[in-house]
């Protein structure tokens, strides 16, 4: 383990936790949940108003109005491997694995189809190879950041994120009507993935490309051929198993500086991933 990671590991022990004392001194008490039986204290008019409110919520529900539909957030992940980023010439779209999934209001991934066993749509062959490594069934009803991390981790194991190379860019595009949900999800994913990159000293940067339409076009609910890519995943892993042998030998300040330079979470910009290197350079 390198020195910086040792120090970071010791940080949580080193920094004292005074939160409870602070909350105690400022008189913090968690807000109690209001009791339903407080209704008894309401006037008749108040009860009437409450019933009207309940009716307003329940009746549309039974009319099959999807009350929680607005809570859905769609996420697209595209992974630009460093060698692709650093290569000259036009980047072929199929070189960049792209995934998409949907989450519910609790940021758990939703099945792509009612009778399906998969929550992640792998858009191209490289994405299918990576998804085969995770196992599509392992993506259902899982926290979105966990699924995102699984994708990135398997991408790293199979060489689509090149650990020792500068220039791995993961772009997260989100869409959905609920801005607060989307922002919260973006923050969760960002924190999880950047922590992973930093912990493993991977030259990787996550870019958030919020408020862009996630593209599920081309997704066919009957398309379930990911299993066919299991062997491809294994062979990719075999080819890249020694990729991180040199880790820890060459990076130090330059790694942190590089990540800092590209750490542009605050900039929600662009229009989805691009196969044009100039637009990546501008980022």
């Amino acid at each position: 383990m390198n020195i910086k990671r040792k120090l970071q590991k010791e940080a949580s022990t080193f920094v004292p936790n005074v939160l409870d004392k602070v909350l105690d001194r400022v008189g913090y008490m968690p807000t109690p949940k209001p009791s339903f039986w407080n209704l008894k204290k309401l006037s008749l008019a108040g009860v009437g108003a409450a019933l009207i409110l309940v009716g307003a919520v329940v009746i549309p529900y039974y009319k099959n109005v999807a009350l929680v539909a607005n809570a859905e957030t769609q996420v697209e992940i595209s992974i630009m491997p460093a060698s692709t980023y650093n290569a000259t010439g036009t980047i072929a779209e199929e070189d960049i694995p792209v995934f998409a999934y949907r989450t519910d209001k609790n940021f758990k991934t939703k099945k792509l189809a009612e009778d399906g066993t998969n929550a992640v749509y792998a858009k191209n062959a490289n994405a299918k190879i990576i998804l085969a490594g995770i196992g599509p069934e392992n993506t259902v009803e899982k926290p979105a950041e966990q699924v995102t991390l699984s994708i990135i981790d398997k991408a790293a194991l199979s060489g689509f994120i090149e650990i020792s190379e500068v220039g791995n860019f993961v772009t997260i595009t989100t869409s959905g009507d609920n801005l607060a949900n989307r922002t919260k999800l973006e923050e969760r994913i960002y924190d999880t993935v950047m922590e992973y990159f930093r912990a493993r000293a991977i030259y990787g940067v996550l870019k958030i490309n919020g408020n862009n339409q996630v593209d599920f076009s081309g997704y066919d609910e009957t398309d379930d051929d990911v299993d066919e890519y299991e062997d491809d995943y294994s062979s990719h892993c075999h080819e890249h198993k020694d990729d991180d042998d040199n880790r820890g030998q060459s990076w130090g300040d330059d790694y942190d500086e590089w990540v800092d330079q590209h750490d542009d979470h605050g900039g929600h910009h662009g229009n989805g991933h691009s196969n044009n290197r100039d637009s990546e350079d501008n980022d």
Binding site: I3, K4, E10, A11, L19, V22, R25, Y28, G252
Partner: protein
Amino acid sequence: MSTKLENALQRLKDHDLDGLREVYELTSRGVFTFVLPIVRDYQLAEDIMQETYIKVHERIDGYSPDTNGRNWILTIAKNTALDELRKRKHEESVDFDDERQPLGSYSLPEDLDTPTIQLANQILSPEELEIVLLFAVGDYKHREIAAILDMPLGTVTWKYKNALDKLKKAIKK
């Protein structure tokens, strides 16, 4: 775009005390590593950290959303630390207590299970130690450390690299 910290401060300003919890979680490492080099005493830094967050709560009405949240908190922390040092200096002059910690090391609890940090505390210069703690423990970026210490960025990265080299050699021994 507001950062998570500014959002949490705004929640606190709106009398949501969960905002204070979030502010603490987002900044406590940074505050502690910022205060420790000023007071050079772990226990005192802990007390000042506590006072800082109580003041953040008390003064939140004076916080403006246009202000950089972390700088606002660090200013409170710094003033609290300096006030405490002034108070102690006055008491010490009355008590004729001239005991000081040796330059370059902080007074740390003996039972702290942080061998690398303790080694750093023994072998690094004051500036190197401060940079290492701000960067690796406080999660500050090099350019932020340069601003805090009023040093060129190159000096900060150079000192940080030297410090890591010293630690590596000491560990190998």
